[in-house]
């Protein structure tokens, strides 16, 4: 039976230095005794022989391996301790005087150190005695020593607005995890046996085509939405929702329209359908949202008419959907979907990789929630999500290994990473609505609330002015409050 990951943090592995236990005795300022370096018995002026003798007698009862001053001071300091007995309760005249009273005692049998401490504490010349603490590196937890690490702290998109979408706050509400809602992801491949995905995610149509990039992509999308909430890996934004997948490969042909209708047939009103595809088209031959093509446009409208909320990646073509050349196409008509653009996340810098030369390492991407450079934009783009460095499942740059069932990434990006955030937000609204009033919202209501209550897009002119519309980022805290008022009224 394969070993299961052990949830939770533990300290990293390290080896202790070869140290032995020893006792520290701190002599009283008024004892008039000292331990001179290189003399392994305590010394005192003639008037303090009682204190000295008692201590030497205690030590003689043990097999002492070594006794020495704890601090390396000059001989004069120890002589001073042996000759000067301060009146009781007088403070030390200086730090050297105080330090010269610390004695380090190491026994041949360290197990007897506790007994030595007890006896020293009874001695009149001793202020305090204790077993020296064992040194250990003051390191922070570094992750589980067995099994997979917990990446939840890196999922900033879960947190409160304006940085995140407020998922954590929503989870405390009835239905606020998306319970009772199904999300169907439409793309080409997934690792459905990933350790952090719920069991039983069904392929409801089409056939998966094995391709590492496609499989990582699908796994990352599911991970954002429905990762299992535990101490391993990630936690999905709408982890209470059920997930299903529909492949775009039907009868050996790429067919997004067919997949949308097939997924719709497997869903109920109130469920969520996520389109994670884009394709090249238009006069500039850039990647566009799928509703540009008439069949996909009609398929989306068919799903929306059934009450299914369709969430669609706007695509990574850096294209302006409002150009006159797109007049009359699906890029300037409302299919009823929530079209999602990619926004700059709060962690708004490239890493060392610099995205393969797109930008210098560690250079700035832009103001958070402004349009990221590759995202398509225009009036039909309704909402945004993080389009860069999203922590989720797959790819293996955060945690790799031989099996992609345990891969995690810190760098899922694109309108691909943005759209699942909005899809999950929609699932949470539907879960809440079904719980509170027994029926889901219409697709138009879900879209309207997400737009009305979202954290506004940021202006980063001239790089990415507000005119390059990608819409607001969901704010689930505000959206649920809005729904609460709506239901109460």
């Amino acid at each position: 039976m394969p070993s299961q990951p052990t949830p939770g943090y533990s300290s990293g592995e390290y080896s202790l230095p070869n140290t032995r236990d020893y006792v520290v005795a701190e002599l009283r300022y008024d004892s008039g005794i000292a331990l001179l370096p290189s003399v392994e018995t305590l010394t005192s002026a003639a008037v303090n022989t009682r204190n000295r003798n008692e201590l030497n007698e205690i030590l003689s009862g043990f097999s002492v391996k070594r006794v020495e001053p704890l601090f390396p001071l000059g001989n004069d300091e120890y002589d001073r301790r042996a000759e000067e007995a301060l009146p009781a309760s007088m403070p030390a005249p200086d730090s050297e005087f105080a330090l010269a009273g610390f004695v380090r005692i190491e026994l041949r049998n360290p197990r007897l150190s506790g007994e030595l401490v007890d006896q020293l504490k009874q001695a009149p010349g001793v202020w305090n005695a204790y077993l020296a603490p064992r040194p250990e590196p003051a390191n922070m937890p570094t992750g589980a020593t067995r099994g997979s690490r917990n990446f939840e702290p890196a999922q900033g998109y879960l947190y409160d607005p304006p940085d995140g979408i407020g998922a954590c706050a929503a989870w405390t509400q009835p239905g606020g995890t998306g319970a009772g809602v199904t999300i169907c992801d439409v793309e080409g491949a997934w690792q459905l046996q990933h350790e952090d995905l719920p069991q039983g995610i069904k392929l409801v149509g089409g056939k998966m085509k094995y391709n590492r990039a496609w499989r990582n992509h699908g796994t990352a999308v599911l991970g954002e939405m429905v990762s299992v909430p535990n101490n391993v890996g990630c936690v999905g934004i709408s982890h209470g929702a059920s997930a299903a997948v529909h492949s775009v490969f039907i009868n050996g042909v790429w067919n997004v329209a067919g997949a949308i209708v097939g997924a719709t047939n497997a869903l109920q009103a109130g469920d969520i359908l996520l389109i994670e595809q884009h394709a090249k088209g238009g006069p500039n031959n850039k990647f566009l949202a799928m509703q540009f093509w008439p069949a996909e446009f009609a398929a989306i409208r068919t799903a929306v008419a059934k009450g299914v909320v369709v969430v669609e990646a706007a695509g990574n073509g850096d294209e302006n959907f409002d150009l006159p050349v797109f007049a009359g196409t699906g890029l300037q008509k409302d299919a009823g979907a929530i079209v999602v653009g990619a926004g700059v996340p709060p962690s708004n810098y490239f890493d060392a990789y610099g995205y393969g030369g797109v930008a210098p390492s560690y250079s700035r991407i832009g103001i958070p929630r402004s349009r990221i450079w590759f995202s398509n934009y225009g009036k039909i783009v309704n909402a945004q999500g993080w389009g860069w460095h999203v922590t989720t499942l797959g790819y293996g740059d955060a945690q790799g290994g031989r099996s992609d069932k345990k891969w995690y990434t810190l760098r899922f990006s694109g309108t691909s990473s943005a759209a699942p955030m909005v899809a999950s937000a929609a699932a949470i609204l539907q879960g809440f609505a079904k719980n509170r009033r027994g029926q889901p919202l219409t697709p138009a209501e879900v879209r309207g609330i997400l737009i009305k209550t979202g954290t506004p897009q940021a202006d980063d002119a001239p790089r990415a002015p507000l005119g390059e519309n990608i819409g607001p980022q969901p704010n689930l805290r505000a959206a649920l409050a809005e729904l609460e008022l709506w239901f109460a009224g």
Partner: protein
């Protein structure tokens, strides 16, 4: 999209290139007889008109046999959408020319280059 994993160009293995074909309003594809059927009038049999081995698929298989009167406007549109896979050795552009000669066909387009957003 992931900065460390570039998507391989082209279709995944096992996926065929195809043409997106739309029939004129009122026409449908009859799989069993391999013909285009108008609302009124005789069907157009495809035997001999297209290269041997040409594969014709409904874009939305669930609508293939549906009664048009029971479909929404969008579904009626989708029922007219087909995917045509050229046989090996046949240039898609040549197949597109042949398809456009048929009365039933309104539009033929090469399928776009797909990608993961």
């Amino acid at each position: 999209m992931h900065p460390f994993e570039q998507e391989p160009p082209g279709l995944p293995p096992g996926v065929s290139p195809h043409l997106d074909v739309r029939l004129k309003s009122g026409w449908r594809f009859d799989r069993s007889n391999r013909s285009f059927v108008p609302a009124i009038g005789p069907p157009v049999r495809l035997r001999g008109q297209l290269p041997v081995g040409t594969k014709i698929l409904h874009t939305v298989p669930s609508l293939a046999d549906a009664d048009p009167s029971s479909l929404s406007e969008d579904e009626q549109f989708l029922a007219r959408c087909l995917q045509v896979v050229p046989p090996s050795g046949c240039e898609p552009s040549r197949l597109a020319e042949l398809l456009l000669r048929l009365d039933a066909v309104e539009q033929v387009e090469a399928s776009p280059q797909i990608g993961l957003p």
